[in-house]
Symmetry: C3
Subunit: 211 residues, 3 copies
């Protein structure tokens, strides 16, 4: 990043870091939720919801700062896009937790645990990358990592969908309503994985401009 | 908004107002449709379709004007985004009406009436706000109102999904095909509510820039 | 397009043409896939997948070129949007082929063949239009054609959905899991048709700016 004569507002970086750390918290609570018995899910879903509300606060702080800061560290529009992309990740994680409870799902297929585990790793990678935004340093390994996690998530997602909708011969007949509900949770988790990729792509496009 | 030396084209404002008023007409016809017997729905769906075609006309007029106007009242891209966002609202309303008829749905759950009622209020708020775009006046209460309506819509949507997919104990067993069809209508109405919020967010971002 | 003093990089045009020709290949293989017996689908899905990977290569080449080219023939952001829109078409075509195989679907409804046939025509129109981007010539007939194909696709899609979810009286009772799987393929094909329209709209917006 070029040397700048105008010292610009650095307060955005800690906010992005806070947003990503908060996503990591939500992903960890979701992991506990999908590993626990249906009876224990309510409390954990409430914690995911708390994280989502904390995230909304951070997003709001970023938006206010965009409109009240004279010199932003990078384009206002890019700040807006990055904040929105982080917000989308959190929304998808919260929606997945909410749906599992709302639909009173019983035992979940193992693949859902695997999906969430990938989300946890993507969240950790994102939380580690955000503080490096300020120096635009070592961001490439972050993109590569998130893109590779997204491929991993895709494979799990695809297998889950196949097992759900075209169960192997000899498997017990599926209850269609359960298929429908499980499919929606699986798709929401895939959205979260895609949303992490959007965050990484947004960071990449900012880094390219600022290079 | 700063004083401008170049008198710019004011013809955009009436077009946005017309677009929003037309959405209000479509929402009102949809409200009649969901309150009536299946036999009477066809005629009302045709009126929603008429409103959609009228809306396409307005969108087209705006697009032509963007390309033929030298000085626009705000960024061309913002005009384009606002026109598209209004168009998306109307598309979702028309799609919901179309699906109810196409799927030959019988009696609809009460929650659908509640969803449409929120859409009517969002449409009225939007139609009232559009003429204020010119002076960028009193737009904040409009955003707050639409955002609060969106939260209301979310709650209704969430309860509807829960009742559909995880009916309370003792409820008669659901016909899965009916669940599937109803779910699609419910989701399309939720898209319409989200689309109203996108309109409000677009107006907000324009107001912030022009402030 | 105005005369330019700075000779700019022309290498983007052949890349867009290659992307569109590759989409045409994928659409043709998909047409064979939906016309063949379930047993023969695997090989054809693999060919669609190959085309998708070839497309990813082209997209990557365009993205690298955006970042390494000093003077681009039109806005970097527009190049990015056009490349992404072409990529979205290919993704939807590949997803449809993949789902048909993954879900082990049996005989497909005729409407699916009709959907794919429209996609083939849209692909051919797009492949013919791309080389004309350089001179911004005769692009209007391309937009009109793609928009009219999109309307055709919409009608087929709507009838298919109606037949699937509200089968005519006297039709044999539907297997809901098959309905669910078929519906997803039908929707993915509709996404491909919409994605062609987005490509055409992107080209239109570029042409308007450069005019």
């Amino acid at each position: 990043m070029a040397f700048r004569l105008t010292p610009h507002e650095r307060g955005f970086y800690p906010l992005f870091t806070r947003a990503a750390e908060n996503i990591a918290v939500a992903a960890d609570e979701l992991a506990k939720l999908v590993a626990t018995d249906p009876a224990g899910r309510h409390t954990l879903a409430a914690r995911v919801k708390e994280a989502e509300l904390a995230g909304d606060e951070v997003t709001h702080e970023i938006m206010v700062k965009i409109n009240t800061t004279f010199v932003t560290p990078f384009d206002r529009e890019d700040i807006y896009r990055l904040a929105s992309a982080l917000d989308d990740v959190l929304d998808a994680i919260e929606e997945a937790a909410d749906r599992i409870v709302l639909y009173r799902l019983g035992t979940l297929p193992d693949g859902i645990g695997a999906q969430v585990e990938v989300l946890q790793r993507a969240a950790a990678a994102t939380a580690e990358a955000m503080p490096r935004l300020e120096k635009m340093a070592e961001l490439q390994e972050y993109w590569i990592q998130v893109n590779s996690l997204e491929n991993e998530a895709d494979d799990i997602y695809r297998t889950l969908l196949g097992d759900l909708l075209a169960p192997p011969e000899g498997a017990p007949p599926a209850d269609v309503l359960t298929v429908l509900k499980t499919k929606e949770v699986v798709e929401t988790l895939e959205e979260a994985a895609d949303a992490f990729e959007t965050v990484a792509n947004t960071v990449e496009s900012i880094a390219v401009k600022e290079a």
